[in-house]
Symmetry: C2
Subunit: 428 residues, 2 copies
């Protein structure tokens, strides 16, 4: 346990090397999957003009922003999310890339919220977005990517569920029930809170529209067949990919944010013991709004945070086993141990030569007993220790996992390393 006297600010985290390796395990998995799907990485600035977020949210800003005046009196915000920057940058660069754009990003976001399980003031988000393609193929590609980001971490069918919904269905429902267009947003907000509000509270809100909660319950529990053509198309595409078992239609999902325009989804652990793991959907009008009409691209995207999923890994034995195996300490391929201080220059030259070949090499930086050096080698998970002593240029090559030892010359050392059948694991 870290010394409690040296804490970061509340809601912020320190990543000492072990924690950083666990973080990188997530990042590496998401990057691998995104690249397999043909997505390319982008990154925006950590701080943007607050105006950009005002444009995105249509004038109503959330209250949890890290929003400040900078030394030049600019109204700036440390980014709470990535989609506003994405829209701005996509508008700026759209002419340089063939559409559809398949872009991903992993970066820190900041929200001044009450820190609690799965909710932090600085957290990482993996964002993936497809811009410039309005067809269901793009929604399916994106949802498949989200599912594979989970599968890559060892989660299986049954561990989590993608709850798919379609705001178009609710817009049709609202129209059919005579809700005027300018009040549709208020109605969607009721549906959005449907699961969280107490029934009487929900009914009180519905009274304004002359609606009964039980009708909504019935509609959500038994949605009309083919109520969402888009959902049916996406389901067929996911089925062809072998991924239909990961999704279900769940019209109670609306996604609070005003800018979503069609298919939306959220990923939850099957036991619903945690907050949403990921969320996203179509936002066909946002890029146009962010660019004041200069760029008009239909879009679909999602964000997956690092905090909730880390809790889920702890809860899920096969995901945890996969991660723990990946985090075995192995920060060194070859440890160079010095048995004769006079040979330190030879050892250093050897270190450079091995590192130039891509091997991860460590060595004692000050005089140390041979036994202690070899202990450090084991601690770092080194595959080999090479002892440089007075017999140099003869060396002792110890295979620490096989517990074998041999006397070799320098050329033989390089040959032995190059011919190691597990070679791939010991260099980059």
């Amino acid at each position: 346990m870290p010394d409690a006297r040296f804490q970061p600010l509340p809601g912020f985290r320190d990543f000492a090397p072990q924690e950083c390796a666990a973080r990188n395990y997530l990042f590496d998995a998401w990057k691998r999957v995104a690249r397999r799907y043909g997505f390319v990485e982008w990154e925006g600035p950590t701080i943007e003009s607050t105006e950009l977020y005002l444009k995105k949210s249509g004038g109503e800003l959330p209250t949890q922003l890290f929003r400040f005046k900078d030394q030049g009196e600019r109204d700036i915000t440390v980014r709470p999310e990535l989609t506003a920057s994405l829209g701005r940058i996509a508008a700026a660069y759209q002419r340089e890339y063939t559409k559809p754009l398949k872009w991903f990003e992993i970066g820190s976001c900041f929200r001044y919220e009450k820190p609690q399980k799965g909710r932090l003031r600085e957290f990482y988000q993996f964002n993936a977005d497809i811009l410039g393609e309005s067809e269901a193929g793009a929604d399916a590609e994106l949802i498949a990517l989200a599912i594979d980001c989970m599968r890559e971490l060892g989660f299986r069918e049954g561990d989590f569920i993608v709850r798919l919904s379609d705001r178009e269905v609710w817009l049709g429902y609202a129209a059919k029930h005579g809700i005027p267009e300018d009040r549709t947003g208020d109605f969607l907000a009721i549906v959005d809170k449907f699961e969280r509000d107490r029934p009487e509270e929900c009914q009180r809100k519905l009274d304004a529209f002359g609606m009964r909660r039980e009708d909504l319950v019935a509609f959500i529990e038994n949605p009309p067949a083919d109520c969402s053509p888009r959902y049916s198309e996406v389901l067929a595409e996911l089925d062809a990919r072998g991924l239909a078992g990961y999704v279900k239609l769940d019209l109670s999902v609306v996604r609070g944010l005003a800018y979503y325009t069609g298919l939306v989804f959220e990923i939850f652990d099957s036991g619903r013991s945690l907050r949403a793991i990921a969320g996203g959907g179509r936002y066909n009008t946002l890029v146009k709004a962010l660019s004041d009409g200069a760029a008009d691209m239909p879009a679909t995207g999602f964000a997956l945070g690092d905090a909730v999923i880390s809790h889920l890994i702890e809860q899920c034995p096969h995901a945890k086993a996969l991660r723990d195996a990946a985090l075995q300490p192995n920060t060194c391929d070859i440890y160079l141990a010095l048995a004769d201080p006079a040979q330190r220059p030879a050892l250093l030259g050897l270190a450079s030569a091995l590192r130039d070949q891509g091997y991860r090499v460590d060595l004692a930086l000050s005089p140390a007993k041979l036994g202690n050096q070899l202990k450090r080698a084991e601690k770092q998970g080194a595959r080999y220790a090479v002892v440089v002593g007075e017999e140099y240029p003869q060396l002792e090559l110890k295979n620490l996992s096989a517990r074998t030892s041999a006397t070799v010359g320098i050329d033989e050392l390089f040959a032995a390393l190059a011919n190691d059948p597990e070679e791939e694991t010991i260099s980059e």
Copy 2:
């Protein structure tokens, strides 16, 4: 060129995919080298209590901080550098790691400065530090790492120079010239500004110590032999590593910051056309100060920014050629092209199977002409296109670089891909 209407804030940058790939090229190189040296990655929070930076700088804070009051009235700062967090985190976690700690970090830093070439308001720093080892071997290991971070990017001897200095030499000089200890800092500040101040300005400052500028010039230009035993030791270690040609003793380097305690260094392009590329040195008392005495670790470290080095790559033909070759667009291994719309489910199933094997696969998300699909395949640098048509499960496998084509079954497809002699380049 990006559309100028959609700029980030001044001094901040957008990384559209091409720019992000260039950024990642730097990050990947530094991470590779750090790992070869047995360094492990850590990360601190982007925002810290301002008090931490006050502790570090001994009460005098720089004026360019992004320093604010948060919603809970805390005095917070968006980090201007990484060493303060490192000291705090190392103090918190020191019992969990065997010393010496060899830690590296790559992260954004923020300074409210006038944006200009090589100087931004948000920039990346690669930081590497060795904590818990006071011997010269640690300084040499760290400087060798810095040199190899440059070599990995294609820079050669003669492209850049590590200017090594030793503050102990100046402390001895100050003592010898009767400067009282409490004024040594003022004296070091004069030496620090020696190259930038006009000679008369420098002399005016030296008057306070009854010193003549020409004596300083003579001392810097012809330092006494073995004036710095630490420098001699480090040079011998670098020589044994084959890296002595990259360094020179240059006592005009002092490093402004008060916390440096011994050997310091800066890396410059040989033509001195740019600002410093990197800087660092020993800070043996800082961790103790940051932890109010709880952790006392000698330390040495350096920071290397991404902005100046990017300019240097542009100036240096062999470094630029290496980078440009690494940035060839190749975001896809296999492009799946659809010749018969009825076969889309087959194509999607194939995409999943190939992606599950680690291949980077792309496909059209909505109906498109075969010719356009194949154009997109080429644009993404795909090695193969696989055409799925009415002959499915027979497929047409096109090798886009070799410009060959063959009809294959599904099993043959996987076999052909697995046996590709350039296989390593087409999967992860």
